[in-house]
Amino acid sequence: MSALELFSPAGLAPFCAFLAAAVLALVPSWRVGAWINVAASCLCFLAACWLPWLVGTGGPLLLVDRLAAHLALLTAFVAMTTSWFSLSYVNAEIAAQRIDRRRLRLYHAMYQLFVGGMLLALLSNNLGLTWVAIETATIAAALLVGLGRTSAAMEASWKLFIICGVGIVLALFGTALLYLAALPAVGPGLPAMNWSTIIPAAGRCNGPLLNLGFVFLLIGYATTAGLVPLHAWMADTYAEGPTPASAVLAGSMLNVALLVILRLRGIMAANATAIDPGPPIMALGLLSLLLAAFSLWRQRDVKRFFAFSTIGQSGVVAFAFGLGGPAAIFAGVLHMTLHTLIHASVFQCVGRAARLKGGQTFADIGGLIAAHRMFGLTLAAGIVALAALPPFGLFASEFLIVADTLRRAPLASIPLGIGLVAGAWALIMRLQSLCLGTPTPDRRSPPNTLAPDALALAPVWLQLAIVLLLGLAMPGPVVAWFTAIAGAAR
């Protein structure tokens, strides 16, 4: 096997991130570290921009297909904008003496390690390599979340670690079973663990073993995807971890796991002796959507609230993937892209709002538009986009999913509709308390944090502008790109 593949053009993006992690672990100054973090994230994004032209390349370890290239690009983009947010976050935390300077070195190194792990998992061809990459990212995420060293943060970190740890161990068991199932079709050795060889030979795999492997891989990676009933780690992690960590976690962790589930679905669907993978995935998705939609009503903590909205959106994507077919997968990938961008924006805004108000409950944050017009409007736009109201893009993707459901599985559209409406309703209710009404007082204690200016909000605007554009008028090449992804995924 060639570890050298990481140096090929396809491996450039994860390589950048891993290199940055190593450098950051050695740089003692947190100021320099924060800037290196931004520079490395930009470089990583540039490297990821190359990926769409590399589609079809790869070797035994790396595979660049359209979907992987698309998601890697998305992950690198969100990591880049979040690193910009992280810069001001770190400055404010240091100024407020809420964080130990030495710990920031760990923070920056883990940030890059997490992003690198996620990119590698997306681009990996080999299930074993995917597993190792997800494991790396999980460990990095647990360390990131525990950064605050408060008891709540430690507990959240431990919860993430143990629940996701059990999940990924089960996924590894599933990987071994999948290898065993692919053995008669592909023959022994590395190819029987590679997507690029298993997918074309899916029809000749051992069906019963494939079923067993599917169950373990689904349970394992559904934990990482935060699907109900394996979502227990999500809310604590998002609420207690540093806000930049919440933003990148919301963006990438779920997408990686959903990518694996989608590919697995393709293999199962192509095998006549295996069970139909659609219903279990759809059931998990619907359950997540419904539970999240109703949990939204009970949350007092803003970050916890948006953690549940992430679970709900992950559920919608899983449902679309479970439904299958070009239209639903088109909508699912679009939905995944858009909600990643919106959640990153919203978490970045919420982090700034929590800093401004000195608290992260709904009681602390209110009336943002009256006090800080530009900032409040930006957050309001983010929440409207998340509620899938037009003119934002999520409306289009949800419309496509609902339409396809009505056509092909009419009964499932009832819980789907209830979940979508209840979730959107909760979001709009909270929008009113967060952004409208009388403003709550800003924090008085030093340092006097100012409302974010245009420079600070620029990445959020960029993200929301993309979401708006994809909602109003999707450019032709983008449609072709998404159609090709959906066509290839089957």
Partner: protein
């Protein structure tokens, strides 16, 4: 279990014997109420795993499996149990642990899980070894669920992972098995470090280190 074509072949018989021993130790882990005893049983299970991996390495003629056996012997059989014992000695925690599930119900549930494992594994050359491994995995999960104590849950997790490695070594010609074994070991080391961190702070009667950052209470 039906008589498989591999029955009577020495390589498979010894592998099944070792797998069966691991399964029995999983049951012992399930009803054990004392933390020290749980650690010892885990160490013993890891040693059996090391023997199983070494045996498979010899039977399959696969050198990487000796590395897996070495990891199981040195890290899981010796280092991790010693680390857990030291955590236990240093932290002043009660040795008797609360169980969320009584002994009888957990044994019955464990038997049901073994039956389930035998039922779901499709017939084939590897049926027995897969069923053993799957049972160990499921019993590890049950141990995690049946205990309230964090350390006991961690031991359940460690034992679950032993089942995983047992499955991996039983599959002939499985690629990357040594690499994956090392990667899993990293995960286990992190778990043990995490426990260590928790225990040390529990000794100060509080999980909270608010003396480090009192200002950070309300805000993150």
């Amino acid at each position: 279990m039906h008589a498989s074509p591999t029955f009577g072949v020495l390589a498979h018989d010894v592998a099944h014997l070792l797998g069966g021993a691991m399964l029995v130790l999983s049951f012992v882990l399930l009803y054990q109420r004392r933390l020290t005893a749980m650690i010892h049983v885990y160490a013993l299970q890891s040693l059996v795993l090391a023997a199983a991996a070494a045996w498979q390495g010899w039977a399959q003629g696969a050198t990487p499996l000796y590395l897996v056996a070495l990891i199981a012997l040195a890290a899981k059989g010796i280092a991790i149990p010693i680390a857990l014992r030291r955590i236990l000695d240093r932290a002043n925690i009660r040795r008797e642990i609360e169980t969320a599930l009584g002994i009888f119900p957990s044994i019955i549930l464990g038997l049901a899980l073994v039956a389930l494992a035998i039922l779901v594994v499709p017939p084939g050359a590897l049926r027995e070894s897969l069923a053993f491994a799957l049972s160990v995995v499921l019993l590890g999960m049950l141990t995690m669920i049946a205990r309230r104590n964090a350390l006991a849950q961690v031991i359940g997790f460690l034992s679950l992972e032993n089942g995983l490695i047992l499955a991996a070594v039983g599959i002939e010609g499985m690629p990357l098995v040594a690499e994956l074994s090392i990667a899993v070991l990293v995960l286990l080391a992190c778990v043990v470090c995490g426990v260590c961190f928790f225990r040390i702070r529990e000794r100060f009667d509080s999980l909270d280190v608010s003396h480090l950052d009192r200002a950070g209470e309300a805000h993150r």
